[in-house]
């Protein structure tokens, strides 16, 4: 998660500045790196390498979860959220703008080496979609669901499956805070039974399902499943657009570190959350898009040098996700590096005297290898 975070972090730094509508700075070098376009819809190649600002209230509304840890710390330090506009994100946005929503949902897989900005690209796209009024289903890190789970309950719904009440309730809470208005509008289409006595009737707003899941931890995972299914069916009909944004999608097809009471290992299908998510990621519905990221950092039992889809997804995952549109995310180009460095300078993040010189910049570029995460870590103590 951290490298995603760092990538996001640095990308965010490249964010906007509040220069009023003028992209070309009037003699001030600082403004070169910033753009005033805070709507991702209007980002074009002209804005490449520049940072745009997201107002803090929007950040809280759109990203209750999902921003990398380091980026969140940076937002707190600098009191603003800046995301860099980079080529992969622009590519994705172009695809999304031009996609036909009556066709089945297209799957995009963002991949790249560690710390290059995959999660930040995802967040950029999520921001765009939320601005456009889509319903965003953002799973911050699928790896969280397959490891370090304290409680595993046997599912009441299906015999073999295992529930994860903690993770499910956390996710439901965040989901609720980001998509309030949708939850009131969308109605359920079936009657759902939660145990013997409680049930949700047909036609009730989806918010009730979420409330139910939050109130009763036991049925949280089932609530998640219900939500996912409803959303899938209804976006098929076309009343709203649905974006499924999954970070660390390779967790869905890997191995888990969890084990049952008799110490036998748990495979991902046996987890309710994972099972439902897999159904979401299949492209048998239309009216939206699926954007996923591969992540090596949180992945289990995979070598650290693996970053291609084939290696990280494994055969099963690759077949399940095939066909998809791969979007590679490289390290910073020299221009992007300049703008990131300029942003740090401007916010006085680099305090060391040598770091302010040209030589210092060359040194930073060499030592970090233009990798956003490395640059962020290097610039920290300076």
């Amino acid at each position: 998660q951290l490298d995603r975070g760092c990538a996001l972090h640095t990308a965010a730094r490249a964010g906007l500045s509040s220069v009023p509508s003028q992209d070309v700075p009037a003699g001030k070098p600082r403004a070169v790196f910033h753009t005033s376009e805070s709507d991702p819809a209007k980002h074009t190649e002209q804005h490449e390498g520049r940072l745009y600002n997201i107002p803090l209230e929007e950040v809280k509304a759109v990203f209750p979860h999902g921003l990398p840890r380091r980026f969140q710390q940076q937002i707190q330090t600098f009191n603003e959220a800046r995301v860099m506009v980079r080529k992969p994100a622009l590519e994705l946005l172009a695809y999304l703008k031009g996609s036909n929503f009556s066709h089945p949902a297209v799957r995009y897989v963002i991949y790249g080496e560690r710390g290059t900005g995959k999660t930040m690209t995802l967040c950029h796209v999520v921001h765009y979609c939320s601005r456009q009024g889509w319903l965003v289903l953002h799973i911050p890190d699928a790896h969280l669901w397959v490891k370090n789970c304290k409680e595993l309950l046997h599912s009441a719904y299906k015999k073999d499956r295992l529930d994860q009440p903690l993770q499910a309730s956390v996710w439901l809470k965040n989901f609720k805070s980001s998509n309030e208005r949708f939850l009131q509008e969308i109605k359920t289409q079936k009657k759902y039974m939660w145990g013997k006595h409680e049930s949700t009737e047909e036609g009730r707003p989806l918010g009730e399902v979420v409330e139910q899941g939050l109130a009763r931890a036991r049925s949280a995972s089932d609530a998640v499943g219900v939500v996912l299914r409803e959303l899938k069916q209804q976006s098929h009909r076309g009343s709203f657009r649905l974006l499924v944004a999954v970070d660390g999608v390779n967790a869905l097809w890997g191995r888990t570190t969890l084990s049952k009471e008799d110490k036998s290992p748990v495979s991902p299908e046996e987890l309710t959350l994972v099972h439902n998510l897999r159904k979401m990621v299949r492209n048998d519905w239309s009216g939206g898009a699926i954007v996923t990221t591969l992540s090596q950092t949180g992945s289990l039992f995979k070598p650290s040098s693996a970053y291609t889809p084939q290696e990280l997804l494994g055969k099963e995952g690759f077949d399940a996700l095939d066909p998809f549109v791969p979007i590679p995310v490289p390290n910073y180009s020299p221009r992007e590096f300049e703008s990131c460095y300029g942003y740090y300078l401007e916010r006085r993040w680099l305090q060391h005297e040598k770091a302010l010189t040209e030589d210092g910049k060359a040194e930073l570029q060499f030592l970090s290898g233009s990798n956003p995460r490395q640059l962020d870590r290097l610039a920290g103590p300076l």
Partner: protein
């Protein structure tokens, strides 16, 4: 060995034989005969011609027959002429009737004082010659000796030459006398005598040869360098007109050296010369661990960069320690101790 009564002046600590045993002439002669015989045997063993078997051949043969992994050269097996092994010693300095041969024997430092007398005699000679030249109104020759490339004998060398102990005071007086002699304009007469007491000093820098740049097919200049550090050895090829990309064994440095410290080591030569983004580098490295591989590549790249850079900067690099091979290797564990230095825990009982 028969113990011989010699004067106390013969005992000196610079030569190898420091014990009370001294060697008789007969003993030395016998050793020489044995050595020659052994030399012929060795030549036969190695299949070479006994007549033309030189000292170098002997050394090679001994190194082959008795391979030794000891670090100190002096501890390895050696077969040399007895005069080189047994230190010179003074013959008996008095006759059968007890009268000493040398007239300065009773001063205690006979060779030293005789040397001083001789040198002073030469000095007087030069002064006389100078007076003669002035009397004849001939120009005095003024050819400066090259003092920069030569040095006087050290005290130990002087002791070896005189076969007796020389104190610091005496040594300095002798050197002062020599300098006084050399300072005179007509000292060229006694040049031969003076050369006995001076030695050539090889200048450090002249030994190092910097290779010229080579050019590959595309016309880009490049140069190679090799480096080693603690069982890791590396070769580096530095190309000109580059972007600062560095590849190690085909892998980018970000992946090969995930630790910042190693990358800083690689950065150091380029940063020192101020050429961070100007060169590309391709290296191969093997052996050692993470840190020693980084050090080896650093040395190799510094050596390769010498060809791109002026001599003054090469001197700066040398003084910064970029071009020096790091001699530290893992020290051997000794018996009776737990490690190279650590002793076993001492228990009182």
């Amino acid at each position: 060995l028969r113990l011989i009564c010699t004067t106390a002046a013969v005992q000196r600590k610079n030569a190898g034989a420091s014990g009370p045993e001294k060697y008789t002439e007969a003993f030395i002669k016998k050793q020489i005969e044995e050595f020659n015989l052994g030399k012929r045997h060795l030549a036969n063993m190695m299949g070479e011609d006994p007549e033309t078997f030189t000292q170098e051949d002997i050394d090679r043969a001994i190194a082959y027959l008795f391979p030794s992994g000891l670090f100190d050269e002096r501890a390895r097996p050696v077969m040399k002429h007895p005069t080189e092994i047994f230190p010179e010693q003074r013959k008996i300095q008095w006759g059968e009737d007890g009268r000493p041969f040398h007239f300065l024997f009773y001063t205690g430092k006979q060779s030293y004082y005789s040397l001083m007398h001789e040198t002073y005699e030469k000095l007087l000679n030069v002064q006389k010659h100078q007076d003669q030249l002035i009397a004849q109104d001939l120009p005095l020759q003024k050819e400066k000796r090259n003092l920069a490339g030569s040095r006087w004998l050290t005290k130990i060398e002087l002791e070896e030459m005189l076969l007796e102990k020389v104190s610091d005071d005496d040594y300095s007086r002798f050197i002062q006398l020599l300098q006084k002699l050399v300072a005179l304009p007509c000292a060229d007469i006694e040049e031969k005598y003076i050369q006995k007491f001076s030695k050539e000093v090889p200048v450090q820098l002249q030994k190092v040869v910097i290779e010229p740049l080579q050019y590959d097919e595309r016309g880009v200049a490049f140069s190679t360098g090799e480096g080693r550090r603690k069982t890791a050895s590396a070769t580096a090829i530095v190309y000109d007109n580059g972007t600062g990309k560095i590849t190690v064994n085909g892998i980018d440095i970000l992946h090969y050296f995930p630790v910042l410290q190693d990358r800083e080591q690689l950065l150091f030569p380029f940063q020192f010369l101020g050429r961070i983004g100007k060169h590309d580098m391709v290296c191969t490295v093997s052996g050692g661990g993470r840190s020693s591989q980084a050090g080896a590549i650093r040395l190799a790249s510094a050596k390769a960069l010498r060809s791109f850079v002026t001599e003054k900067e090469v001197e700066f690099m040398r003084q910064a320690g970029l071009l020096t091979l790091d001699p530290r290797v893992k020290e051997r564990k000794k018996p009776g101790q737990e490690g190279p230095r650590r002793k076993f825990t001492w228990k009182k009982r």
